[in-house]
Symmetry: C2
Subunit: 239 residues, 2 copies
DNA sequence: ACAAAAGTGTTACATGTACACCCATGT
DNA sequence: ACATGGGTGTACATGTAACACTTTTGT
């Protein structure tokens, strides 16, 4: 902690974004195709270097806006962690601070203002073909997905996947898709509505193509869930 | 993401450590007294700048060793998050990646090999006198404590506060002290021993000054707790 | 009438909570 | 004997899982 700059080359700092949504009953990530070396043409997480005296959060919001048409409002964004292996970027030592962003399902497939092409990619495509993602982005994605899965259990994060108004059925689909396991609609519905502050009815109803109209809700003021929505039946194995 | 270095002054990267233990029935943090400007003489978290092509984890272990006599083995260390406000350090833009370290209660009060004095400080002293800690370290401490409290609920982190061998009563004290609330010993004991892989009996017993000898345990192979040990009775208020 | 989706009731079971009580030891 | 801390039994409340059943709509 000397006041003089250290003699070593100080690493550069970047942010990378894992942007998730639920589309077509499937957890999808927004990936770009790299337009430059290294990893030219390979899919990668959107991201970029920190500028000037910018905060990491600001850089994350900026990249989100530059690379996608998503605006920061009505969007969950949280810091995941920093990745710092010295060989993670062939250009030199780059520390990447990863962010988890969660967006409601958007109708248009999001065109980046930047020249790079951005498209929603099902998580299965990413995990079933390991080694396709640039840098250590597969690891970052894995960590981000695990974070999201865990936070559904004890926070109201699931509402971030939904539009302004949503039905309990849509919220349940978020849990099923993110967790990758079926959830009983009847019990789920009761539990959600009994957890104070999770959802608040808007008064409106949505008429499905066929069937009874569903009450519409919006996200409530609660952030933590008590009691939590625990995933059961999954292995809590020993390491 | 140009291959040329960005024109902006790139921020420096440091690590800061929140090292916790339970001593004298109280959650304590290892703080140093700053020996240089800025914040000369003020208490602060141990930490320092990243060197060369070092990983953040390696820098955290190095600082832990340099500033304290703690060796990395038999010690929990995990990354918390990065703090990046451009004005958080008066010397310029310094991004700090905070780490949470958890140590068993050590007999000696840990003298740093570095000249700076390190001492265990009760958390209450830190939180009851806000504005004493250097930089944004009060915020980092707050986040670290909340992380530790949460992780006691659904992981086996509590054993990291204990020595190689411990009694259920000692483990319960960890929960009580970290959570700041009483925990029923009878139910706690049963619950811990029923959670497979949390603790394993060593076969030995410890004889208290007075009272029935307690079975000694060591940390088991499990890392996650199912069902979790939930804190109850605390406000899950609306924000 | 029927299909489809939303929502309720019910039952069996697991877990959490509170607390009376028993156990093993040193003084 | 008694204080002290470790540990068991048990009754009650609450939460979960599974699933039959009712409600509300469009066709």
């Amino acid at each position: 902690m000397s006041t003089a700059r250290p003699p070593h080359a100080t690493p550069r700092v970047a942010v990378d974004l894992v942007i998730m949504t639920v589309r077509e009953s499937c957890l999808q990530l927004l990936l770009i195709e790299r337009g430059k070396e290294p990893y030219l043409g390979r899919p990668a997480l959107p991201g970029g270097f920190l500028r000037g005296r910018e905060k990491l959060d600001d850089a994350a919001y900026r990249e989100l806006h530059e690379e996608t048409n998503l605006n920061g409002s009505r969007l969950h964004l949280e810091q995941l962690q920093a990745y710092s292996h010295p060989d993670r970027d062939p250009r030199g030592h780059v520390i990447s601070v990863a962010y988890l962003a969660i967006a409601p399902c958007l109708p248009e497939p999001v065109a980046g203002s930047d020249a790079r092409q951005a498209r929603w990619t099902p998580l299965d495509e990413v995990t079933s073909a390991p080694g396709t993602l640039a840098f250590d982005h597969a690891q970052i994605v894995e960590d981000a997905v695990e974070r999201a899965r865990g936070k559904l259990e004890y926070t109201t994060l699931a509402t971030a996947f939904c539009a302004e108004e949503f039905t309990i059925g849509e919220l349940r689909q978020v849990y099923e898709v993110v967790w990758g396991m079926p959830v009983d609609e009847r019990n789920f519905s009761r539990k959600i509505r009994r957890t104070e502050g999770f959802v608040v009815p808007t008064g409106a109803k949505r008429r499905p193509e066929t069937g009874r109209p569903a009450t519409l809700y919006s996200g409530g003021p609660a952030t933590t869930l008590y009691p939590p929505m625990l995933r059961t039946g999954i292995g809590h194995e020993l390491p």
